[in-house]
């Protein structure tokens, strides 16, 4: 409806008592976009790495997520096995096809059936890498791509997440900066999910319940990696 577009633009400009934005106004807006300056950053997340891990764990507990700390990627399969057993789950897991996950050696857990790819709703437990974590509110930044299906973030009942410690930041803005470094200025993957705890709803009887449509449980494995993984 290009007629509507012109009509709306006219109406906006009439309301603002001007025509199309002049050079100066454009330049100001362009500069503001290019700067993408941060607003006030809460002091609470501005800690050293250990402090951020502690804050992340505390905030995660507040939103009913669970956190486990691992010394290296080699500990992941055993941690998954413990989780499945503790929650009486079948020995099956659906993995995101990401290098960080593909490199895991499952030979120590021969009983676990491991498959990789997107989810069609038939998987009870999924495992995905987080692009970043934000200590301020225990938020995970999940990005879509060939290595990270979005369906895995929402369809399985239990969602396990690998968060490299080197990707844990204090504030959302730091995670955006890391994303820009990987994808380019003004560019985004199709989907970025900021996830803070398991799915919930208070729509029935005003009582908060976990597991409305998305995962009922969110279990985060913070891995002490040496260096940041590739993009």
């Amino acid at each position: 409806m290009s007629g509507a577009r012109a009509k709306i633009m006219d109406s906006i400009r009439r309301g603002l008592h001007r025509g199309a934005p002049d050079e100066a106004a454009r330049a100001e807006c362009e500069a503001r976009l290019a700067r993408h300056a941060s607003g006030p950053i809460p002091a609470r997340g501005q800690l050293d790495s250990e402090g951020q891990v502690a804050l992340f764990a505390k905030m995660a507990e507040g939103v009913s997520a669970t956190v486990e700390r691992l010394e290296g990627y080699e500990d992941v399969p055993a941690a998954v096995a413990r989780y499945l057993k503790a929650n009486n789950l079948p020995a099956e897991i659906r993995l995101a096809p990401a290098p960080m996950v593909a490199q895991l050696d499952w030979s120590s857990q021969p009983l676990i059936e491991v498959t990789a790819g997107a989810s069609d709703g038939s998987h009870k437990v999924g495992l995905s890498p987080a692009f970043a974590g934000v200590a301020e509110t225990a938020t995970l930044m999940m990005v879509s791509g060939p290595e990270a299906p979005t369906t895995l973030n929402f369809l399985p009942d239990h969602h396990l997440i690998l968060l490299p410690r080197s990707r844990l930041f204090g504030a959302y803005e730091e995670a955006w900066a890391r994303l820009r470094a990987g994808y380019g200025e003004g560019e985004m993957p199709r989907t970025v999910n900021l996830v803070t705890g398991p799915s919930r709803s208070a729509d029935i009887g005003h009582v908060p319940q976990l597991g409305a449509h998305g995962p009922r449980r969110l279990h985060i494995l913070i891995v002490d990696d040496e260096a940041a993984p590739e993009r």
């Binding site: 309301g15 979005t150 929402f154 449509h213």
Partner: protein, 473 residues
Amino acid sequence: MQTTAHRFTEKASAALADRELQGMLQQMRVHVPERRQAAVDALPEFETLRDRGRAIKDHVIANLDFYLERFEAKVTAAGGKVHWCADAAEARDTILGICRKAGARTVTKGKTMVGEEIAINAHLERHGMIPVETDLGEYIIQLRDEPPSHIIAPSFHVSAAQVADTFLEHHTHLDPKRPLGDIADLLSEARGILRSRFLAADVGITGANFLVAETGSTVIVTNEGNGDLTQTLPGVHIVLAGIEKVVPTLEDASTIMRILARSATGQEMSVYTTFSTGPRRPEDPDGPAEYHVVLLDNGRSAVLGTEFQDLLRCIRCGACLDHCPIYHAVGGHSYGSVYGGPIGAALTPALVGLEKSLDLPNASTLCGRCESVCPMRIPLPKMLRNWREAAFDRHLMPARARWGLKLWAFLAKRPALYRRISGAGARFLAWRGGKAGRIASLPFAGGWTRWRDLPAPEGETFQARWRRERGGA
């Protein structure tokens, strides 16, 4: 949605007499403000963030055309399509057109207040499609064929027992003797039913909390994850958003995110905040093949440059409803408009016309709580006062109210007469109040005294007492 905003008085009376509703509102009065306050207290930067949020929105409003153009260019570059719609009818037809082209039979929907504003469900139904609300609250009221009663908690007025009855009535393929006494049972049942709807849908429609000009992203904020399943599983994703939702950058969106969840639900952060940019990429394993953004004006641009311009800063958090004594007393349905509470009372006249919503600006005590909690610092009481003045100036007020105001103005300009008459009134009311000091019914004030007693004055006007105690007029 058909507005019934002209029937406020009648609906409010019914709400006051509804004991179940009153019980739920009673709960809200205390707990909801407490939760927000706790979240605010836990973030020392909250007030600074509010100032910044307001400044971001004011900058966008002053450059709205620039940012909308940039947003459109970025959406297009990412492979999506922007559809501009001047009014509700255009938006309905645009969406119907996209659904038809996709050969859609079922259409899942994330929560969208703009969807309510343009009454998209009825339109799709009329054309043979089945819209399925997936936000739990929206799903419940869709089954019950009711409008939302709160911006962010649409089924606020429905008790758990009523939800059980509704599910029994509609989910007839399930055992009628199944246990539905626990909220967990109800949630599981809805989850199971909606899961199959998500997987079967041909088109998914969501709203948007923000549009990001820098990247061409649309942003939804939910706790359930329903919006994400709605937009990830079907082949077509349609985003429906008002033109005022655009912000410049990801950082700007982050600033406002920090005040949104805390103001809305008292959460530090909502569970899912999702940024979507274009359709799925060739190498993506999932996601929609088509991505459409329907931008709706519907009266918004006409507010620019008027005394109501600040309304465009609203982020629909619902805090003004949660803290409004009138909303607490009469609930959301009384307003008879898509948007209830103080924001609804201020916005509805701008969207549907003052003559159709005359009562709404009067549905306020102007106590100022809404403005004090509004994260965007919108001067709601001032706007309601502006609407009242506009109603008076345009001769839209009922004769009795006009006559009453004129009489008061006549007296106010004549202090001696005013003192004599108000003194007599105070003595009369004191006599009526008797020892208890309360008046249970009064001629011409039945609307007041039916629901509460009028405290009787102590037989003297304020002015008289001031003179007596401080000496001199």
